[in-house]
């Protein structure tokens, strides 16, 4: 039997924060478990409160932060046992990230094509300049850009949407099995958002890439995910089949989250919904904590 693609078991991450005098510990992630099967690629969505530990969980899966407790296995290998440089490269070939803030995803002092070329050389093992540039161009075409457009340009010369698409293109270059996407569409317009979400879906359906999709956008979560977990204060409050959970949320927080989604139909309401939503949410929050 093949081991699962990803197995997250009871992971905990605690940080200490504050000054020397008033040090306190924050438990950013508190006992989260889930498994992603190798046989069937899927889009696994994590939604939840701001500051609930989604990014921290993603970083632990990417092996850039190590858990305080619990284990994470990728294709059967315990991430905490990856020591040698060669193993690390192999791991990174299999798991690639897309980050939250496209403005910070590339060094502002450096030209952006450099990251694509380095990835093609190091991660995909290409040698000649032509191969490398072709691969970069291919990846860019998949996200609606081309090498000609971005060659030699610096991050500040590109818009947020363009930057995010380049970040996705870069992640695709090493043909990974798992992409961890931390709010990949939060800075892109609705139309492009759909095209990128569709792109993620194609990656799953056609290239067999599994995706961990972290988002605040319930609509796209509903649209592309197979499974979903909802996090609050480091814990999973609800999880399961994405459509079932979102159609009929059970936990008070999930219910509230769904109700808080703004509707475009309210155009011209003068923000009546906003304040109402807030009052309600505060009452509810008080009750939950």
């Amino acid at each position: 039997m093949t081991p699962p693609l990803l197995e997250v078991r009871e992971v905990v991450k605690a940080y200490s924060m504050g000054s020397v005098l008033s040090r306190h510990r924050i438990r950013a992630v508190e006992g989260v478990s889930f498994t992603m099967k190798a046989e069937r690629p899927e889009i696994f969505t994590i939604i939840g409160e701001s500051g609930s530990g989604k990014t921290t969980l993603a970083r632990m899966i990417l092996n850039t932060v190590s858990p305080t407790a619990g284990t994470i296995r990728f294709r059967g290998t315990d991430l905490s046992k990856i020591w040698r440089g060669r193993d690390r490269l192999a791991f990174m070939r299999g798991v690639q990230p897309i980050f939250q803030n496209p403005f910070d995803a590339f060094n502002p002092l450096k030209q952006i094509d450099r990251y694509l070329f380095t990835t093609a050389r190091r991660m995909a093992g290409l040698r000649t300049v032509k191969e490398i540039e072709d691969r970069a161009d291919q990846a860019l075409k998949k996200v609606g850009l081309s090498l000609v457009e971005i060659r030699g340009r610096f991050p500040h010369e590109l818009s947020g949407g363009q930057l995010q698409r380049i970040a996705i293109a870069r992640a695709l270059i090493s043909t990974p099995a798992l992409i961890v996407a931390d709010e990949p569409v939060s800075m892109i317009d609705a139309s492009l958002r759909m095209s990128i979400v569709n792109l993620l879906r194609n990656l799953r359906d056609e290239m067999g890439v599994s995706i961990i999709y972290i988002t605040h956008d319930l609509a796209t979560a509903y649209y592309i995910s197979d499974r979903i977990i909802i996090m609050r204060k480091g814990r999973v409050v609800e999880g399961g089949d994405a459509r079932a959970v979102l159609d009929n949320p059970q936990h008070p927080y999930s219910i509230q989250l769904k109700q808080a989604v703004l509707s475009p139909d309210a155009a011209g309401s003068g923000g009546a919904l906003l304040s109402a939503g807030l009052v309600e949410s505060q009452a509810e929050l008080g009750e939950l904590t």
């Binding site: 924060m17 649209y223 509707s263 475009p264 309401s269 304040s275």
Partner: protein, 351 residues
């Protein structure tokens, strides 16, 4: 004028808004701002803002939407006077009127502009979670930015800051954190708090809530709205989230490829979009429950260094006619308070 400003008015709800357009606080006319770069002898000109005119009234929230890289950020940067090479203003003017004090952004001394920026104007930049100084605690950022302007004693100042943070669903504990110890959404809220704690008269916000969950986002928007109502200030709010526009903004401008293509009261734009791009934008809004494959806009986004002739939307427009390829459509009034730049809309066939 002054008496009109002082006159008491019903709390701004639907009807209070229409007259807001009578006393513009900001008038932008014929603004053109290009990125002019030359590398290795090759000149490039990115026409990110091309002949844009609009105004923002007192006590009004003006929304700005549009495709990625259509020049929204560039436009409001230019409005805020925060430009630096290679971005250059070629023509047009940006004039603020702060309670009788008129300031033309591109005809004033740098000193006057600096003063304006501190006193009246607050600009939340896109991706601004990075502006926090990484080696200083959040507390120090507040002291650096806002202490002088609030003019209270330190303990009192910190109390104001704490209360303000709480309105944004942040615990005062974030004051003792370094920026990297906060989540993306927390950092974003800290920058919003920094920009609003002094209660500026004009807030320019570029995608300030992208990293927030919907509950917190609603709280933040409500706070912005409250601050705006309290002192009857104006806001330009840029976001891709049309639902936010629908709920927050009084008027809405839609940009495409460096141009303003449609503008009107939010409800009008949503209910009866006139420009084919707007129509597409609104029709393609994602909603919970949609599962069928939905398409993005056909075709590639225009290259602003070499934009399409005539109407810049014509290569992707289902209604494109011959004239669209040859001539740029002028902005025309289609109904009171509703403008659109499209030949088809003018003849009434866009719907």
């Amino acid at each position: 004028m002054a008496p009109a400003t002082a006159a008491p008015r019903a709390p701004a709800k639907e009807n209070g808004k229409a007259e807001a357009t009578i006393e513009p606080v900001l008038v932008v006319s014929g603004l053109r701002a290009y990125f002019q770069t030359s590398s290795f002898g090759v000149e490039r000109e990115v026409r990110a803002v091309d002949d844009i005119s609009f105004h923002v009234g007192a006590n009004e929230i003006y929304g700005l939407a549009g495709e990625s890289s259509s020049g929204k950020t560039t436009l409001i940067k230019t409005v805020a006077g925060a430009i630096r090479p290679p971005l250059r203003v070629l023509s047009g003017s940006v004039v603020f009127d702060f309670r009788g004090r008129r300031v033309s952004v591109y005809d004033s001394d740098p000193q006057v502009m600096d003063e304006i920026r501190w006193k009246h104007l607050s600009y939340i930049m896109q991706g601004s979670m990075n502006v926090l100084n990484p080696v200083r605690r959040v507390r120090h950022s507040f002291v650096d930015f806002a202490f002088r302007h609030i003019g209270r004693k330190m303990p009192e100042f910190m109390d104001i800051v704490r209360t303000h943070l709480q309105r944004l669903h942040l615990t005062p504990a974030v004051l003792d954190a370094y920026p990297h110890q906060l989540s993306g959404g927390m950092r974003q809220r800290v920058t919003i708090a920094l920009a609003t704690v002094c209660r500026p008269e004009f807030i320019i916000a570029d995608e300030p809530t992208t990293a927030l969950d919907v509950i917190v986002q609603n709280g933040v928007l409500a706070m912005l709205r409250d601050v705006q109502r309290e002192i009857r200030s104006s806001i330009i709010f840029v976001t891709h989230d049309m639902a936010v526009h629908a709920n927050l903004c009084d008027r809405l401008g839609i940009m495409y490829a460096g141009r303003l293509v449609e503008e009107g009261r939010t409800a009008d734009v949503f209910k009866a979009p006139k420009h084919p791009y707007t129509a597409h934008l609104i029709a393609s809004l994602p909603r919970i429950g949609y599962v069928a494959a939905r398409k993005g806009l056909e075709g590639t986004p225009p290259n602003l260094a070499d934009p399409p002739s005539g109407c810049r939307f014509h290569p992707r427009c289902p209604l494109a006619a011959d004239i669209c390829r040859r001539q740029a459509p002028p902005m025309t009034w289609s109904s009171p308070g509703h403008r659109v730049a499209c030949f088809a809309a003018a003849t009434g066939s866009a719907q």
